[in-house]
Amino acid sequence: MNTVWLLVVCISVVFAAINGRIDGFTKAMFEAGKAAVEVCLYLVAIVSLWLGITRILEDSGLIYKLSNFFRPAISLLFKNIPEGHPSITSITLNLLANFFGLGNAATPLGIKAMEDLQTLNPDNDTITFEMMLFIVINTSSIQLVPFTAIGLLASYGSRNPNAIVLPTIIATVISSATAVGILWLFKKFSRKDR
């Protein structure tokens, strides 16, 4: 992340200077601040909401039952999670929310899953393989029906906006599988991780 951020910021400054858009650069910085505050305010609400709901799941013991129920499926990928651990449920719920295109629930449940996975982490600064796996699956997107894209196609008068569903699903499945594959390869070839 350090390298990516450094590169992007430096390129931005250089381009702003070349194109004579230094004032635009400064303006964009404050716009970014405003946008970050807006996004975080929105996140406070939905994350708190879902943490409240999942707390009820924890207090009623349902989360552990669900974890045991989902474990066979999840442990195919996430091998190092102990039985009945709450992270199994939060990971499953996040994946389901993503799958059904429920963005409002997916992000908060993903944050919960990361917190649950952190409780299994012996070194709080360093990412675990399970966390990487979880993030990679999330960033490769696993949405079943791309509602936003279909909605836009339809609103511009496409003859058959639903035609994109099949290629999107295929692309999503292949890219998620590739993502997990690439992660496994990296794990195999990096000595630090063993």
Partner: protein
């Protein structure tokens, strides 16, 4: 599609209903329980804020400096020999950084090339099958304060690239 969307949206209320009823049946003080869980939310977001801010500053200044336009022109140049609509690369480039910006470009493509063009189809599939990778990274890593990410970022970028290439090839084959 609207019906499917409605059914999916209905999953959340059903889930919450079930959770609350189950909690009540088990003798959990559901209101107190909800509040005590929700209390943690604000602390987590305060922890995430600097990460989100850093990403937004990088994305917004990158756009404002004209660097995005330059890269788009560069891709237009690369796309010609492959006989691909150059606009598609703009969506693919922008999507990992910003959802709003990629939606803007997608709308532009729809307007300029028509909703049934090859470019629109490719852009639509990319919109549906790619994620805002850097935002997800900032939020999820920020939530638990992870600093050492090992090889996560290169893997995510490689996965994004693969997804985009697959989306383009699929649309080429199917339409």
């Amino acid at each position: 599609m609207d019906t499917i969307s409605l059914v999916f949206q209905g999953l959340i209320p059903v889930f919450i209903f079930f959770t609350v009823i189950y909690g009540f049946a088990k003798g959990v003080p559901v209101y107190d329980s909800f509040v005590s869980g929700a209390k943690d939310g604000i602390g987590i977001i305060i922890g995430i804020f600097p990460y989100v801010l850093a990403i937004f500053i990088a994305v917004k200044t990158f756009e404002a400096s004209g660097a995005f336009d330059f890269i788009r022109k560069l891709f237009a140049f690369v796309a010609t020999p492959f006989n691909l609509p150059p606009e598609v690369f703009s969506v693919a480039m922008v999507k990992p950084f910003s959802n709003a910006a990629s939606l803007g470009i997608f709308t532009e493509i729809l307007k300029s090339t028509g909703p049934d063009s090859l470019a629109s189809m490719m852009a639509a599939v990319i919109m549906g099958s790619a994620e805002t990778t850097f935002y997800v990274l900032a939020v999820y890593l920020g939530a638990v304060g992870i600093k050492k990410t090992k090889y996560l970022v290169p893997v995510c970028l490689a996965a994004d690239m693969t997804g985009i290439v697959i989306a383009i090839i699929l649309v080429k084959l199917l339409f």
